[in-house]
């Protein structure tokens, strides 16, 4: 099944051809659509996450949480966003206004760009670039520059400390993260996210990578939390010591960009965990089996639409399960100190991820059938 599944671009181009538009123009018309879709999807994902965060936090503390803005307070994040949108944009008098403005943008843009590689189905992703997951690792390494920039430009000691902490944390946790991704790539023989998911979907839930890479899964999740600056690793913005870290001087829409960036990053990390370890769009039971039970050929339109929607739902479901877990973790664990953070990163996760890589490589040589030949 190399090219099965929905291919919306192809159908779009054919429809355009039907209207008598040349393929090149059709391609130009097609280009902005996925980008727009990604922006909308990311923002909606953030809104849902913010709502979930508030509700789950409330439940963990035996509160009710937002209740009156829409049913179950579902419009509360919209209200928050609207408030930030119309708030006064303040640039401190002694701040470096250019870098101050550029910082949040540099934080947000790479995160949104990384959505390019998140697959929701066989052809349901923006671009199946060959370097796939490596692109995400590369893009996420830009973020610390934005954080340092905003920390420096705010001309505030708390901001600078927060920015420095964020950069240190980001650099330290990128290495075990990349190493655990590398173990996956080693088993898949490909960097492409689509290949990684496909390779996991032979036997449904049994063939997911989490069974072959349990240690890698844990390392990846810990590092992803650290990269997102979620509790217990939120010390760049530790409110008890640093007011709000690099966000201290920000207000209005620029603050909203940080806020948006951190939540998009969280959703993205959860999506990537589900792609790398939990079989991405894969249903726990392979769809081909379902199709054979229903006595439908795999390429019939009904089955294709069904697999497409199941794929989207499964990816989102897995990702939000992980987001829920992250929120649960937030209310369970206390914040680590900076030395504990660096100890964990360099002295624990790095050696373990190296050993994990070594073990994966040797297992691959020993059992090429189970660990990707």
């Amino acid at each position: 099944m190399v090219n099965s599944g929905l291919d919306i671009e192809l159908s779009f181009n054919q429809a355009m051809k039907g209207f008598g538009i040349s393929p090149e123009i059709a391609h130009l018309l097609w280009l902005p659509l996925p980008m727009l879709l990604v922006l909308i999807a990311a923002v909606i994902g953030v809104l849902v996450t913010v709502w979930l965060e508030r509700k789950v936090s409330a439940a963990a503390q035996q509160r009710i949480g937002p209740e009156y803005a829409g049913a179950l307070g579902i419009l509360q994040p919209m209200a928050d966003g609207l408030k930030l949108l119309v708030k006064e944009d303040i640039i401190p008098a002694r701040a470096d206004s250019l870098l101050f403005t550029l910082g949040p943008i540099l934080v947000l843009v790479p995160v949104i760009l990384s959505w390019l590689i998140v697959p929701f189905g066989q052809n349901l992703l923006i671009s199946n670039v060959g370097i796939g997951i490596f692109l995400w690792i590369a893009l996420s390494s830009i973020q610390p520059i934005g954080l340092l920039m905003s920390g420096y430009a705010s001309n505030n000691k708390y901001s600078l400390l927060g920015g420095l902490r964020a950069a240190a944390q980001s650099i330290s946790y990128e290495i075990p993260l990349a190493l655990s991704v590398l173990a996956i790539v080693l088993m898949t023989n490909s960097l492409s996210t689509v290949d990684i998911v496909q390779q996991q979907n032979g036997l449904g839930v049994i063939s997911w990578n989490i069974w072959r890479q349990p240690v890698g899964f844990l390392i990846f999740w810990i590092c992803a939390l650290a990269e997102c600056e979620r509790l217990p690793f939120d010390l760049p913005e530790a409110e008890e010591e640093l007011v709000a870290g690099y966000q201290t001087e920000y207000a209005g829409m620029k603050f909203a960009l940080f806020y948006l960036g951190s939540y998009i990053n969280l959703v993205l990390s959860a999506l990537l965990v589900s792609v790398l370890y939990l079989g991405g769009w894969g249903f726990p039971i392979p769809v081909e089996w379902l199709a054979s039970w229903l006595h439908q050929p795999i390429h019939s339109p009904i089955i294709e639409i069904l697999t497409g929607s199941i794929g989207i739902i499964m990816t989102i479901l897995k990702a939000y399960l992980l987001v829920f877990f992250a929120i649960l973790l937030r209310w369970t664990t206390p914040r680590v100190r900076i030395d504990q953070l660096l100890d964990l990163g360099w002295k624990f996760l790095l050696p373990i991820s190296l050993v994990n890589l070594l073990v994966t490589a040797s297992l691959k040589l020993a059992f090429p059938l189970a660990f990707g030949g």
Binding site: L99, G130, I131, F134, I145
Partner: protein, 199 residues
């Protein structure tokens, strides 16, 4: 020309302009922080050029290594020691600048000359696109194994050097007073913060 070629040309012009202006800014700007951030911009634009050349793996590696590691460390170092003090004036600064400018101009002339006289094999071999990742891996572990390993040894040496410089307490004698340092204090076993009550 196709639309794709036009976009490519426009992208190339923009990226080239950003690289040239950015690198001039890195050298000429007085504020060292701006220089560092501009350096990041230049690295990014170079990654963009790689992308234009269909070398996406190299572009990503460029971003990861140069922007994500090198540039962040440079900015990090600048911010840790950022004192905002006036540098002491150097004697004959104008003459020095003139000479270095002259050297740079000569280098530029040389490069332009090389560029014009060399017979470029246009349009060059067809790009292999996505296959480049595999090709790079193969080359790194066959033809270029020695330089690759040498580079890693170099990095290891740099790392050990950094550790030695950063951890003065590893040395036996104090650098300034030449007194013996009591190693036992350093090697003393760390006391756990929480006493284990189970035992």
């Amino acid at each position: 020309m196709h639309i794709a070629q036009y976009t490519e040309l426009i992208c190339f012009i923009i990226l080239g302009a950003v690289i040239i202006i950015g690198s001039l800014g890195v050298v000429l700007l007085n504020n060292i922080v701006y220089s560092a951030f501009l350096l990041g911009g230049v690295f990014m634009s170079i990654a963009g050029l790689y992308l234009l050349l269909n070398a996406s793996f190299v572009a990503a590696a460029q971003v990861l290594v140069y922007v994500g590691a090198v540039n962040v460390l440079i900015i990090f170092a600048i911010m840790l020691v950022n004192k905002r003090e006036e540098l002491s004036p150097i004697k004959g600064l104008k003459l020095r600048r003139f000479i270095s400018g002259g050297v740079c101009a000569c280098l530029l002339g040389l490069l332009i000359r090389v560029n014009l006289t060399t017979k470029w094999n246009m349009p060059g071999p067809a790009s292999i696109g996505e296959g480049s990742t595999v090709r790079i891996g193969e080359h790194l572990f066959t033809d270029y194994l020695l330089p690759f390993e040498l580079a890693s040894v170099l990095l290891l040496m740099a790392m050990i050097g950094a550790i030695v410089l950063a951890r003065r307490d590893v040395l036996n004698t104090d650098e300034e007073t030449q007194e013996k340092i009591n190693q036992e204090i350093i090697e003393e076993k760390k006391q756990p913060l929480l006493i284990d009550q189970s035992s």
